[in-house]
Amino acid sequence: MESDIRALKQKIIRAASISGEGHIASAFSILDILWVLYHSILRNDPAQPQDPLRDRFVLSKGHASLGIYGILAQRGFFPLEELNTFASSSGRLGGHPDSRKVPGVEASTGSLGHGMPMAAGMALGLKIRGSTSRVVCIVGDGECNEGAVWEGALLAAHHQLGNFTCIVDYNHSGDRALMLGDLCAKFSAFGWETTEIDGHDHAQIKAALAPHGGDVPRAIIARTIKGQGCTEMENNPAWHHKAPKADELEALLAQLT
């Protein structure tokens, strides 16, 4: 499995390199979480991406689109080779995910603070309908600067959306602008059940994402490393939005063999 994830990271780096575009480090920050979600947690069928009985996943921090594309392709929602069309004029895989174009993408995101309350609305709709499907979203820590995230947090707790889980990709990249402090305490104060995990430890991720029942939404504060797996990229702001040049590419790929 670890080698599979490294191979997927290589594909993501190559896709970014071809296009000269992409938030690779943001994608690597959440790739372990996505892997566990799509291999062990979410009920979904690549052959029926609109199956009403599916679980929903919303990537609220849409700029990490290379991560969700990588997982969706690896799971068979579309061919892996399509990753190499990333951000091309004729392709459907953009710098932010588009639910109108990409099978398996539930919401078009990009404007931070939109996806989380949209996911809450999906959870509310499923609850009204009496569905057993659940909704999971990932927000970034920088995204938690947005007031709409906390509006969504208020609403999810008030409307007892026990079918809703919000994972915070807490890689601390936003600290240089605004310190968020103890996010568990903040979500708890908003009425959520909270847990803090190592966002790269698959056993911890899986345990935190296990169905929990009840009517309280769950926040998972995932300690993550931006750019995880590539030493010079890890927690390096220079790599926030940067594609590797030819001379950087081989060195990055070599670290992932």
Partner: protein, 293 residues
Amino acid sequence: MRKQFVTTTERLLDEDERVVVLLGDIGVFAFRNAFKKHPQRIINIGILEQATVSVAAGLAKEGFIPLFHSIAPFVVERAFEQIKVDFGYQSLGGNFVSVGGSYDYAALGCSHHCPGDVSLMQAVPGVEIIVPGHPAELDALMSQTYASGHPTYYRLSERSNRSAQSVTFGKAEVIRSGNGPTVVTVGPFLDRVVEALEGKDATILYYTTITPFDAATLQQHAGDGRILCVEPFYEGTLAASVTQALRGKRIALSSMGVPRQFLTSYGNADYHDRSCGLLAPDIRARFEELCHV
């Protein structure tokens, strides 16, 4: 018109299980019967418009038809990016019903004035904009469009025309036809336009659907190209639609509406009509000016 909004919405809640109403902590008492009857599908969501519009988009994704109701600046201006991206770009259907357009809440000051709502909503491709001039028109137009699959903006006015027109979504009504300039007016301004043009040789076109704009009716009744727009929102809001409808034709366009400046005084809507020069004598004077072009 607000009473009719409640009546129509209650009927839609009864008839269509897909309808979910989100109130921005206004109109809650008026909807008390609906809260009893449909506790799961009418929610006093609170005062958090940005998340409300995103939540509404999530509901739309799950097959519901959301209806969000609040005061115009908070529906449109506060949550504009959510309307643009979550509804507009994602091609989701939903209903946005505002009160307090332009200076209906004059005494509450600039934060509650909203003459720019229609201009803003026009900037989102796919949005439908409806400005009824009478409660019966609101009922007809909501019934026709609430499930259109588009984001639809309904601008409710505190003041209504004395009688309703037989209105159809997307169609302008020809109130009267003449040989002089053509006057294009909207929703609650119809009565004053009719009064202003008494005895004048004019064509009066009445629009309750602003977007999509009924270009065909204007093309058929544009006469010699002298057009006066009398608008209950920012002046010039209709100009792009009118000039696009009449492209290639020589036109003289004159627009009357709320001036593009902050209104710093309070009072009531009638006061602002006077101070903005939007009463019948003002309209008649502008029409006569156009007659000499």
